[in-house]
């Protein structure tokens, strides 16, 4: 990396790289590949605790709650290095639920959840999406009935990744059944071992598992509700600006392997890398990765100035994920017939990695807000164009 980091940041990068190099195991990589992220597995939990022990899960948090009082730039650096290493940190506890609790949770809740999150001891899974509420979160209708000291939950969630390995569900549920949809949602922490929860696998075309989660008379103590009742939608919308990002180096690593392949593979007595068309395409990908990098670190820059990345977060997510798909397509062009060979085939280049990314990258422009939603946000917030 040659971004002109501060000295201490450059040193941190080295430290993180060294750490990863020392602690990474082939089992961890394999487990992460199977799960789609470094999450919930035995190997991952081990590794995450080591990361947490250094404060690297939550460097920007206050020391009181287990952070380092450091910067978002440091967080972004660590997450990008992890992505580069094939260990993407999409860590709901540290990056979605935690920051919301930090901002809007009660002191009791902070004390209960933040330090173990920072130590990497507990893992959360996102509980937003439902069959009828994808991009349109306000439409969610899992019911949380107020029963005095607890809520009674009934309903269904869908595409709730990691619920089968996480400890807690970071749940958005409907607590008000009349009035405007977006004024009746609350956020709560649900122990995934609670009686009445059934988790059913949904297998994706990447081979990863995601889940349907059924709630059948599940009891959730009121103290587990985050912030004020019925204000969950506002917390969520506010949080999106903070949490929306895509670490570009997940695909940078893949790109570098494609470049190596092009250099090493000789056809008709000439390395593929000398083919003018391939040169152009690979150079273009290098440029787009560079652009992604600048968009990515801009977010940390804005956050560290205590401003809110607004349309910029949408732009980064949209751009970087579309670059990701272009890298896969370019790689497929470079590899030709070989591109379709899967992991395990003795002839598979990149050990089948590209075949896998080609499949899995399909969802990048869909999950966490489609590219279409991001473009709406860019136009409306970035340019002030009127809502449809």
């Amino acid at each position: 990396m040659d971004f002109g980091f501060k000295k201490e940041e450059s040193e941190l990068i080295e430290e993180v790289r060294e750490f990863i190099e020392q602690k990474i195991t082939s089992e961890l990589v394999e487990e992460t590949h199977q799960l789609g992220a470094i999450y919930g597995g035995a190997e991952a939990r081990e590794f995450i605790k080591k990361l947490g022990a250094r404060g690297w899960l939550t460097p920007a948090w206050p020391r009181d709650y287990g952070g380092l009082d450091s910067s978002e730039m440091v967080t972004y650096i660590i997450r990008d290095e992890m992505a580069y290493a094939g260990l993407p940190l999409y860590f709901v506890a540290a990056y979605n639920a935690g920051p919301m609790i930090l901002r809007d949770g009660s002191e009791e809740m902070k004390r209960e959840f933040l330090p173990p999150i920072a130590r990497g001891e507990i893992e959360f899974a996102l509980g937003y999406t439902e069959p009828q509420a994808g991009s349109d979160l306000a439409a969610l209708n899992i019911r949380a009935e107020d029963r005095g000291d607890h809520f009674l939950l009934n309903g269904q969630k869908m595409f709730n990744t990691s619920t089968h390995v996480a400890d807690y569900h970071w749940l958005a549920a409907r607590t008000n059944f009349d009035g405007p949809k977006h004024k009746g949602i609350s956020l709560m922490v649900v122990d995934l071992k609670s009686p009445g929860i059934t988790i059913r696998p949904l297998i994706t075309m990447a081979g990863w598992r995601t889940n349907e989660v059924y709630y059948d008379d599940v009891v959730v103590p009121k103290k587990n509700m985050m912030g004020e009742k019925n204000r969950g939608f506002y917390y969520l919308m506010g949080a999106l600006d903070f949490e929306r990002m895509f670490a570009p180096s997940a695909y940078k690593r893949l790109f570098e392997e494609i470049v190596d392949y092009a250099r090493e593979t000789v056809f008709n007595g000439r390395p593929l890398s000398k083919d003018p068309l391939i040169r152009q395409k690979l150079a273009q990908m290098a440029i787009e990765l560079e652009v992604s990098k600048l968009l990515y670190y801009q977010l940390a820059y804005i956050l560290d100035r205590e401003k809110i990345p607004n349309y910029q977060a949408s732009m980064e997510k949209m751009f970087a994920t579309e670059v990701a798909q272009r890298i896969c397509n370019t790689g497929m062009e470079v590899l030709g017939l070989y591109g379709q060979l899967k992991k395990g085939d003795p002839r598979a280049p990149l050990a089948g990695k590209l075949e896998f990314f080609y499949r899995s990258s399909v969802v990048e422009t869909i999950y966490a807000g489609t590219s279409e939603i991001q473009r709406n946000i860019i136009a409306e917030r970035g340019l002030g164009l009127p809502r449809g």
């Binding site: 009828q132 297998i203 056809f267 002839r347």
Partner: protein, 391 residues
């Protein structure tokens, strides 16, 4: 649903409709395959070692599909190339697994192009009756359809040839009875197109080993190793050293045949997507009413319609006995890119549900990539078009 548009032959002019017989063929194939080949079957066959069932194969034989292209004397139906295209469209529509394409297109067309009367008389009737499965072994370690690729050697020893080398990405070689093998019978002296010959090789031949690749689509492409494989002299297919011109024709025809499959798949991707977009609501209105989604869909339909026209123009020219080299390469280049883009847009408008293994859309994602790569991708065919343009 939108009206299906075709681009077909009429009174000496390329026409945009099916004739009556073709409509009957299409309708019967559509209802037969809908029953016989649901998505669950496609997934099952991707895991299956053989990749097809004898039962379905037999039924397809009974429908006369194996001999659709062959002259009557070989037990065929003397259908036109366009008839074949209609059938392949329907097979693409359901992602039909199994060795139909390799048998009838790879094998059948190559035999029709280059086979002697004796060879055709011996093999084609068996194909038509479902007894024989064929394939064509072309690409080697370079993964290319260019003449430079051919280095598997065939040496003449008295009355037979000895073949040594390795072929990759050979479809269905693991179940084929006969493999047509592209071999080099003369060291290239400047022009790689010279000195290439074709041989009919029994798969049971000792010295021949087949290993099925593990591929994206779970189709059966094979690595075939020829280790001192002895082939009788009469198994030479076509003239000695003159195999390349045959292969060029096979490449173009097979490309168009592949495109017919692809546009069937493209139509299915639309049929899987558009009805869902009309039903599914977000923000209180159907997803399909959002302009961004609509425009993706408009692009999808454009990619499909244009792919259909390009495919059927090329197929029509082949049927009519007109020159088809340029149109076939234009077609494969256009459809290869378009089908991939079409499915990518379909995934984008479907959202998360389309990313699930159990949703059939992913089958077409895989079919699109596999088909794009078969017989040369868009770049490969654009280069052929450039040559046709005199560049």
């Amino acid at each position: 649903m939108q009206k299906e548009v075709w681009a077909f032959q009429g009174d000496n002019r390329m026409d945009y409709d099916l004739n009556e017989e073709q409509q009957i063929l299409r309708d019967s194939a559509r209802s037969f395959l809908a029953k016989q080949c649901p998505g669950t079957f496609v997934r099952e066959m991707a895991e299956d070692e053989k990749g097809y069932t004898s039962e379905l194969w037999r039924k397809m034989v009974e429908l006369g599909w194996m001999g659709i292209l062959f002259p009557e004397q070989y037990g065929g139906y003397e259908g036109s190339f366009l008839d074949l295209a209609v059938l392949l469209y329907e097979m693409g529509y359901v992602c039909l697994p199994g060795p139909y394409f390799s048998t009838v297109v790879h094998g059948g067309i190559t035999l029709l192009e280059a086979g002697s009367e004796i060879q055709k008389g011996e093999i084609l009737p068996k194909v038509a009756s479902g007894e024989e499965i064929l394939t064509l072994a072309w690409t080697e370690s370079g993964g290319s359809y260019a003449p430079q690729e051919i280095s598997l050697k065939a040496d003449l020893h008295h009355d037979h040839y000895v073949l040594t080398g390795t072929k990759l990405f050979v479809p269905d070689a693991h179940v084929a009875g006969k493999i047509i093998c592209v071999a080099r019978t003369q060291e290239p002296a400047g022009d790689y197109e010279e000195g290439v010959s074709l041989f009919i090789v029994e798969r049971e031949n000792p010295g021949l080993t087949v290993h099925v690749h593990s591929t994206l689509a779970g189709d059966k492409q094979c690595e075939v190793e020829f280790n001192q494989v002895q082939v009788p002299g009469e198994n030479l297919l076509g003239e000695l050293h003159m195999g390349w011109p045959v292969l060029q024709k096979v490449l173009q025809k097979a490309s168009v045949a592949k495109c017919a499959q692809m546009i069937g798949g493209g139509q299915r991707a639309i049929d899987l997507t558009v009805p869902y977009l009309k039903e599914r609501e977000q923000f209180g209105r159907p997803v399909g009413s959002f302009q961004a989604v609509k425009h993706h869909c408009a692009n999808i339909l454009t990619l499909l319609d244009t792919s259909k026209f390009m495919t059927f123009q090329a197929a029509w020219r082949i049927s009519e006995g007109l020159s088809f080299e340029k149109e076939a390469s234009m077609c494969k280049a256009w459809v290869s890119d378009s089908y991939r883009q079409l499915v990518a847009l379909a995934h984008q408008v479907m959202g998360g549900i389309g990313f699930m293994e159990e949703h059939d859309l992913q089958l077409y994602f895989k079919q699109a990539k596999t088909s794009e790569l078969a017989f040369g991708d868009a770049r490969f065919h654009r280069e052929l078009v450039a040559q046709q343009l005199g560049l």
